[in-house]
């Protein structure tokens, strides 16, 4: 009993203020989280719109797509259908994430309407080393993905960045980050394609 009394005497301020501060954060979070979510959606739309210029708006598809990540973990993926003015499907986009050099890399990937070639990708969030790994955000590196076939991409150390094929030239000094991006795209794209074919959302290419 004495011990409890001592404990309360010493720490009542800490306990009371923890509740109070928790409340403060909860209020701030409740007030601003819709805005933060909206910012994220706006950014996603802006990036995807740049990748699929013909698209006028994006519709989240109802079918659940789940992909397997490393170590057997499974993750639900949001896939968006890009629709043009004439209500035609012009492509698909989805978010994919994976481990980068220092932290998680979150990408938005866009593919054409038949899931035959990649339309491009952009970085939603990353924490790669400035000056090296964060070059994955630069257009001249990202451009070699635009038009690349959906099949397994391969990372090579030297090559022509301008040539569009399944060989991706790594950023010198940032092999880990380049590899991470290729791995994220490879892993998600083939699984999503398979599931979308199974569910009849896209033709099976025959």
């Amino acid at each position: 009993m004495l011990k409890i009394k001592h404990f309360i005497q010493q720490s009542w301020l800490l306990i009371v203020s923890s509740f109070f501060f928790g409340l403060l954060i909860a209020i701030a979070s409740a007030a601003w989280s819709p805005r933060i979510e909206q910012n994220k959606i706006d950014k996603l739309n802006r990036l995807t719109a740049a990748l699929l210029p013909e698209a006028k708006h994006f519709i989240e598809i109802d079918t659940e797509i789940e992909i397997e990540l490393a170590k057997g973990k499974r993750k639900k993926i949001k896939v968006y259908k890009a629709v043009s003015d004439a209500d035609e499907c012009v492509g698909w986009s989805f978010n994919a994430a994976g481990q980068g050099f220092q932290d998680k890399i979150e990408l938005v990937v866009a593919v054409d309407k038949d899931f035959q070639s990649i339309a491009g990708f952009d970085v939603l969030a990353s924490n790669e080393t400035p000056g090296f790994g964060d070059k994955i955000k630069l257009p001249n590196w990202r451009n070699q993905f635009a038009g690349a076939p959906v099949e397994e991409l391969k990372l090579v150390k030297t090559g022509d960045v301008k040539k569009i094929d399944s060989e991706i030239v790594a950023i010198s000094g940032a092999t880990v980050s380049s590899e991470a991006v290729v791995k994220i795209i490879n892993n998600s794209i083939t699984q999503i394609k398979k599931q979308m074919q199974e569910k009849g959302l896209i033709g099976n290419g025959k």
Binding site: S11, S17, I25, W32, S33, I36, N39, K43
Partner: protein
């Protein structure tokens, strides 16, 4: 009575000026080096960082000063960190909601304000020993001092690395940008030179 207010006014002025020059957190106390080196590649993020630090410093100094008589000595650091973490989280949420681009540029450095030694130092050295008014003035002095220093550093680096200030081009067309200035090496060199300059100035001041 009149004498008392005079003494108090002198103390307030001294506290305010301490943060700006005599005890400038970056140049004289060498505290908060992490954001000083990391976010000063351009003026805009430096200014955002400085304003966030002013907000957190002000709030934490007010709270710590108000509860200074209730603090248990061995739990005080815990209380400081708790207070600081709360306001940093609020500042972080605010930046995410209203300036998403800046929030992304600053990245992990906003949450890292929690462990910024300037704020813990002011809570320990000033707010936990002084009344509310002195604590507020101290927070403003230190915060503004920190922000100004960051902006000076960022101004020099942005000017030399891109030829722009506040994203407005100011240099003549013939200017060749020094890309190195926007990299960590530029931060260290600029900070070192500025520290030397401040040392020379304050030495000369002491002699006269």
């Amino acid at each position: 009575m009149a004498n008392d207010t005079k003494v108090a006014a002198g103390l307030y002025k001294q506290t305010l000026l301490a943060g700006l020059w005599r005890e400038n957190p970056v140049f004289r106390l060498l505290l908060g080096m992490c954001p000083t080196l990391a976010v000063t590649a351009a003026v805009k993020p430096a200014l955002t960082m400085g304003l966030s630090v002013i907000f957190v410093l002000l709030c934490s100094n007010i709270v710590v000063s108000l509860m200074r008589n209730l603090l248990k000595p061995h739990l005080r650091i815990l209380m400081f960190t708790l207070t600081i973490a709360t306001f940093v989280t609020i500042a972080d949420l605010f930046l995410k909601a209203f300036t998403p681009v800046m929030s992304e540029t600053l990245g992990p450095y906003v949450p890292l304000i929690i462990v910024n030694c300037i704020i813990i130092c002011r809570a320990e050295a000033c707010a936990s020993k002084n009344n509310l008014i002195v604590s507020i003035i101290d927070a403003l002095g230190m915060g503004v001092g920190f922000t100004l220093t960051l902006c000076v550093l960022a101004g020099i680096r942005e000017l030399l690395s891109t030829g722009e200030i506040f994203e407005v081009p100011v240099m003549p067309d013939a200017f060749v940008p020094w890309v190195a200035m926007s990299m960590p090496v530029g931060a260290f060199i600029t900070l070192g030179l500025l520290l030397g300059l401040v040392n020379i100035i304050s030495k000369k001041k002491r002699k006269t």
